[in-house]
């Protein structure tokens, strides 16, 4: 781990401890992964408000719903693949349908899980959670945004899906001023806008530097809330640069790229290129190797940006 690199799950664990002191209604549930999701920190600080539900994710989601219906603010944590896949019907029926105030904070999302392989690499969780009416979907870009997003999730009434990563990643900013549904512009640009979330925000900033060398001015937006999407920021970007790239550590089916393209196609059509995992499962490898293998690199994002710009000019 390099200096100033912190995993978002680590920041989540710390944030829970801080928020726990301030909000006595917060309770935390985990499914035998508390040392990995980092809820173990909360468990140590507030043992009476932590419930290990064992390897039974479906039940955990239902219990969280019941706690929320009784005035608590439950955070339910496990790996993203289990929180959204294994327990989808429980999240849909017991939490989503009644709009209960449950915060699903799922770690180990995406291929950066690494060596555990495809069974543990969630590449469809954003798609699944986005389809649930009333579900807020947040993918923080770094540790400090995670901390702010956790607080925002507590203050927001209603279900929230918070997608967290295993791998330490650079802290991009100390303060974000995170608000649900608000994108953050990280870099100005006039030729193309790169819209990214999670680990791909940093990758996209590097892509923008590469593009600069080629004489292309790229704007970078951190779209950390995928639902509700910041349509104001999107529209402005589309008007300003007229070409977009979406970059996410997720399947290109149903994630950020889908959300952005669908919106712009109907409101302000401009070329949109999607960088993500192309309809395939992951595999074992190191996080860095997998990012490379699946084309989640600055080079791949920059290439997509050049293509998007080209499509614009063809008009």
């Amino acid at each position: 781990m390099r200096k100033n690199e912190v995993a978002t799950r680590e920041a989540y664990g710390q944030a829970l401890v801080e928020l726990g002191a301030e909000f006595p209604e917060i309770v935390v549930l985990d499914a035998d992964l508390s040392k990995s999701t980092m809820t173990a920190k909360f468990a140590a600080a507030y043992p009476d408000r932590f419930f290990n539900m064992g390897i039974a994710e479906a039940n955990m989601m239902g219990v969280a719903a019941g706690l929320a219906a009784s005035g608590k603010i439950p955070f339910a944590s496990t790996f993203a693949v289990f929180a959204t896949g294994r327990a989808f019907d429980q999240v849909r029926q017991s939490i989503g349908y009644p709009g209960l105030n449950v915060k699903i904070a799922a770690s180990h999302a995406g291929v950066t899980v690494g060596a555990d392989g495809a069974s543990h690499q969630s590449i469809e969780d954003i798609a699944l959670m986005r389809t649930i009416p009333g579900m807020t979907v947040i993918v923080p870009a770094d540790a400090s945004e995670t901390r702010e997003a956790c607080r925002a999730a507590v203050l927001h009434r209603g279900p929230v899906y918070l997608r967290l990563g295993r791998q330490p990643t650079p802290v991009l900013r100390e303060k974000w001023g995170f608000q649900i549904g608000r994108a953050t512009q990280l870099r100005d640009g006039t030729d193309v806008t790169i819209v990214a979330c999670g680990v791909m925000v940093n990758v996209s900033l590097q892509a923008a530097t590469l593009l600069e060398d080629e004489g292309i001015s790229a704007e970078v937006l951190n779209m950390s809330t995928l639902k509700p999407l910041d349509i104001t920021a999107l529209l402005e970007a589309a008007r300003r640069t007229g070409a977009l790239v979406c970059a996410e550590e997720h399947s290109t089916i149903g994630g950020l790229g889908s959300a952005v393209s669908q919106y712009l196609a109907s409101e302000y059509p401009v070329p949109v290129k999607c960088v993500g995992i192309r309809d395939s499962f992951g595999q074992s490898g190191s996080a860095a190797e997998l990012m490379e293998f699946y084309g989640l690199t600055p080079q791949a994002v920059a290439k997509a940006a050049v293509e998007a710009v080209g499509m614009k000019r063809r008009k």
């Binding site: 539900m53 064992g54 239902g62 719903a65 019941g66 929320a68 005035g71 608590k72 429980q90």
Partner: protein, 277 residues
Amino acid sequence: MELDYDLMRRKARVIRRHVIEMIGEAGSGHPGGSLSCADILAALYFGLMRLDPSAPDWADRDRFILSKGHAAPALYAALAERGFFPVDWLKTLRKLSSRLQGHPDMRKTPGVEASTGSLGQGLSFACGVALAGRLDGSERVTYVLLGDGECEEGQVWEAAMAASHYKLNRLVVFVDHNGLQIDGPVEKVLSPEPLEDKWKAFGWDVQRIDGHDVKTICGAVRSALESPWPRPHCIIADTVKGKGVSFMEGQVDWHGKAPNQEQVRMALKELAADEEK
């Protein structure tokens, strides 16, 4: 608390009449499992539960969670009779924009504590409600009604494990043990028996009773709540699916079929004659 068993018996008959009328009017619904649990609902809503229909959000109220959500008509009838909403609403069951959805919706119907319909989820929800009650230092009781076929769902047993692990002794589960599900007898489809042994093995205090006798139902709940053991309680209630309407009793086909006008008339006549006894 004085228990008025005659009131409960009367209300059970009224609930059954409503069930037939509502499902007949809606043209679809689940009469069999609604009729089998009418006595349990009458005992809960007209005897056992501490409730205030004028303050449905009162924090210390007892909770009832209908995990077998397809019996919604029986729950709606009990809630209307208990004063949570006008009896008038019952005829809107399953209609567009109705507050009485085909399966319970806690956001639309006053008195409904959980949105159910996907079987197997209610006990988990109830564990959360009971845990919150403990955290709040409340004495309130959380009741759950499961179907016997529903006990085939793995999530029920995840929740059963959690309830006993966390010693949720203010949690009372009824299993509506009517022996039937959709495709046939529970024993033939995929037997969850022996249910008593299973619940015991999961750490629950278990009783087996006649689920159509309100006095027995009340007695079982009282003895459960007075038990000194820090265990959740399971009451396996032997019932007859379609109870009270002779041509529906024990008939698997009446699980999810609406009676036609003639059948409604016949059923109501039987339930009225019952009343004169």
